[in-house]
Amino acid sequence: MTSLVTAHGVTKRYGDIRAVDNVSFEIEKGKILGLIGPNGAGKTTLLKALLGLTDCEGQLSVLGLDPFRQRKELMQNICFIADVAVLPRWIRVSQLLHFVEQTHPNFSRDRAEELLKSTKIRRDSKVRELSKGMVTQLHLSIITAVDAKFLVLDEPTLGLDIIFRKEFYGNLLNDYFDGERTILITTHQVEEIENLLTDIMFINDGRILLDASMEALPESYVELVTSGDNADSARNLGPIYERDLFGKKVMTFEKIEREKLAGFGEMHTPSIADLFVAKIKGAAA
């Protein structure tokens, strides 16, 4: 597989605080990676470093380019939607399409018009006149019409209702993702993107806690629902996290043979949300 992103010892400091602390990872072409972390974990800082919006220490390569020093070249093959509604509110839809057409060599106006046909967005509307959902639809239509190799989405559905959120991810898969392109998503609504992801990365306090493919998770993690003496026996096997659920104990184990847990209770692969909590709380314990 070809690495689209390579990071070695990437660090970003704000004074004494290390927002990103010596992280190393690779993102391969054709993946949909979920970057999950609590508020202030360093997600957005890491994304900004990938997008060339901020300088950082260490070695970072995106599409073979130094993102900070070769941002213009990088932006020809990378698109992003940030967590705030960043489309200028004063601009008309037609003006926005025209501007991107003039400045982006890989943008197809026809494709964008085609995508917008299925929405209620009028070309003469100003962005400020659109609902938040429509602004996101517009932004997604624009970036989908860019023939970019890498798409970065930072909380793209924040503040949208469930219908728009479902539609957003549906459109993302149908219109953008073709197996060749690569997507990096951060979101707090992990359960909504769980089925989309090919890979997952957890980040906390600027450090990567987990970097794995979704396929590898069942082999590496198991959740055991147990109670009574079985709970005591299972606890001796060293769960990374334990919680109570309706009078039972739910334990998360890492890199353990499932046979060892057989007979202690019900086993299954933890959801991303549960694994996230287990890794974050387990690391803090």
Binding site: T44, K48, L51, L53, T54, D55, R71, K72, E73, L74, M75, Q76, C79, F80, A82, V84, A85, V86, L87, P88, R89, W90, I91, R92, Q95, H98, F99, V100, Q102, T103, H104, P105
Partner: protein
């Protein structure tokens, strides 16, 4: 590069509608005032008739000087509006995108920070003067046509009184040169305003004008000198621009005005673009502007506002 610049400058026109609305509004007000003055003059009966007869009998050079004076008077409001427009545009140009966070969108496109900042500078020092010039030319034409209609209606000959003596293209060329020279002369201030616009997290207006007001006072209190104050006042003032061949601001003094008329002088002849371009002060100002623009690019590139 050129396509990007064109798109970026067009974006400035979309975003800052005041760039064209302000000169258009001034043109409208000037035209309405002209119409009002004709209506008022029509009420003076014999005095007005005498004035028309008098104007018909003066020499061609005197009529020419009077028409130049009319055109200059017509232009002053545009010059003042352009001044305010350049200041407020420069203070807002790199600040608005940070306030509404749209800077994240603009920076997601393959456009460098330098291209963006240069487009803002271009808008302030070239586009605004060009649009102002277009508004001046259209406004003057409309006013001269209205004047012709009024003179015809009052029994005078517009061919003799206006169009026969009118040095219109000479005046337009002079106006064009002055309109481009003003931003060149004030470029260090425009550079400062653009830098403040990119840099400050507070009110750009206060941040820009506070040092301009306070530093010269401090200089005077501490050193008993006024070099900084003089330098700033000179850049705000057209009088000190090394463009004019004589003290053009005394043009309207009776004596000068007569001599100008007698010498068949044109507005263009009052300008010395060669002296202006060769002026060390002009180039020093441009270097200062360049430093501020470089700082603005640096701040936009390196500061993390998101």
């Amino acid at each position: 590069m050129i396509t990007n610049q064109l798109a970026l400058v067009r974006r400035e026109i979309w975003e800052h509608r005041s760039i064209w609305v302000t000169p258009a509004a001034v043109a409208l007000v000037v035209t309405l005032l002209t119409i009002a003055s004709f209506v008022a003059a029509s009420g003076f009966g014999e005095t007005k008739d005498m004035a028309i007869i008098l104007a018909s009998n003066v020499s061609d050079t005197e009529r020419k000087a009077a028409l130049i004076a009319f055109l200059i008077g017509n232009t002053i409001a545009f010059l003042m509006a352009m001044w305010f427009l350049m200041i407020f545009y420069s203070l807002d140009a790199l600040n608005a995108e940070r306030k509404d966070k749209s800077i994240l969108f603009w920076r997601s496109l393959p456009i460098t920070d330098a291209e963006t900042v240069v487009s803002k500078l271009f808008t302030a020092v070239i586009l605004i003067p060009m649009i102002t010039f277009a508004a001046v030319a259209v406004s003057q034409l409309i006013n001269l046509i209205l004047m012709s209609i009024w003179i015809s209606a009052e029994g005078g000959s517009p061919g003799l009184l206006i169009w026969g003596s009118l040095p219109l293209f000479d005046t337009w060329l002079a106006t064009f040169i002055v309109l481009l020279a003003i931003p060149a002369w004030t470029s260090p201030l425009i550079g400062w305003f653009l830098f403040v616009s990119a840099w400050t997290k507070r009110s750009p207006f206060l941040t820009a004008f506070l040092p301009i007001a306070v530093l010269p006072i401090m200089e005077y209190v501490v050193f008993r000198t006024s070099m900084l104050g003089d330098a700033i006042v000179n850049r705000f003032s057209m009088k000190t621009m090394p463009l004019f061949d004589l003290d053009v601001f005394r043009f309207f003094d009776d004596h000068k005005f007569r001599s100008a008329a007698e010498e068949n002088i044109s507005l263009l002849a009052l300008l010395d673009p060669g002296k202006f371009v060769a002026s060390v002060d002009l180039w020093l100002g441009m270097v200062v502007c360049g430093l501020f623009i470089t700082a603005a690019i640096y701040v936009r590139r390196y500061r993390d506002d998101s």
